[in-house]
Symmetry: C2
Subunit: 199 residues, 2 copies
Amino acid sequence: MGAMTKTQGRPRGFDRDAALERAMIEFWSRGYEATSIATLTSAMGINPPSLYAAFGDKRKLFHEAVERYAGTHGMVTVRALAEEPVARDAMARLLREAARVYSDPSHPPGCLVITAAVNVTSEEVKAELREGRAASKRAFEQKIQADVDAGRLPPDTDAHALATYYAAVVQGMSTQSCDGATREELEQVADLAMRAWPA
Amino acid sequence: MGAMTKTQGRPRGFDRDAALERAMIEFWSRGYEATSIATLTSAMGINPPSLYAAFGDKRKLFHEAVERYAGTHGMVTVRALAEEPVARDAMARLLREAARVYSDPSHPPGCLVITAAVNVTSEEVKAELREGRAASKRAFEQKIQADVDAGRLPPDTDAHALATYYAAVVQGMSTQSCDGATREELEQVADLAMRAWPA
DNA sequence: AAAGATCTGTAGTGATCGATACGAAAAGGA
DNA sequence: TCCTTTTCGTATCGATCACTACAGATCTTT
């Protein structure tokens, strides 16, 4: 069953992983609803039946594209929280990384998780990305609260408010990059945002 | 001609202004492309031919809705810059006002100018709202630079960077409110954002 | 070589998109 | 009372949406 590496029948004529990469770029650039099946098949270099056979439907393809984004481009911010032991260093690095990747001209601007489901009708699709953003915000709060508990931050620090603030800054940076902000401008935003850090 | 107040022919059977208000709410809530003519006519209580006779087409109706928004709900932030003589007071008031109106449950969350053209295909529509955001950002920068010139802010203050930062914060607050942030949370974001103010 | 399984491109499905043709209805001007 | 003008509701238009039926092509298995 699952251990079989060669299956009978005509083999797939395209690279599934490369096609998913193209689909992710399209969703990232245009958002979920504005990216039509015709747009996707054209970008992926395949026909609709191949898309549906390989990915199920548009909704499932989007889900895989989000997972792919989270495992690649979206990883840099998560890594900042995981690798930096001190919350302040983690947040400063996260903002600088965001400034860099949001303005990287080798792919669409901004963050897929923040923008791709805006103005989308499907509540299911909106909920999927909203949960992703909520998870990031919770990670911010936990990272901050950990340093409050460790005495590295004042005991009266409001971790929830601070996490909401930095979540808003990151989302604002994403929107600014979609409006054409340069890396330098985003880095200035990142530096200014760190002035709100306690004590 | 234009002075005529009574024109011959069957009179319009609906309130044009009230219908425009309903259309604005729909665009605000769902964005430009996700708001269909069927959605609009249903909300406005009219049929498609009445909409097209009174407003031209969907694009022109959206333009009028944006103008209406700018003249009503969008005015509160502009007024903060106009009425407060000191830039710091103006920005603090603008952020507090944004926290209040973005979370006002009597209308859709967030800011129409920030969200309604996200993931929209029409470059024309995107450009219209982008220009609105750019105008706000320029107003921020001018307000800040005026206080630098007046000596109320340090001479090395980077008005452009600061304006970009506050534009990002406002856009982030709009996104947060669409994700369900409360007025209290947004007010905390506003207060934290003011910690970045110079000196 | 024959059979079974899977992928491929062509060519569609019904639903919905923005936008309209058309005739009946309702007003003012003659 | 007609005639003109404008708006009204009904019933569409072609284009595009996500999605798929179908038959030929290409593989493994027997």
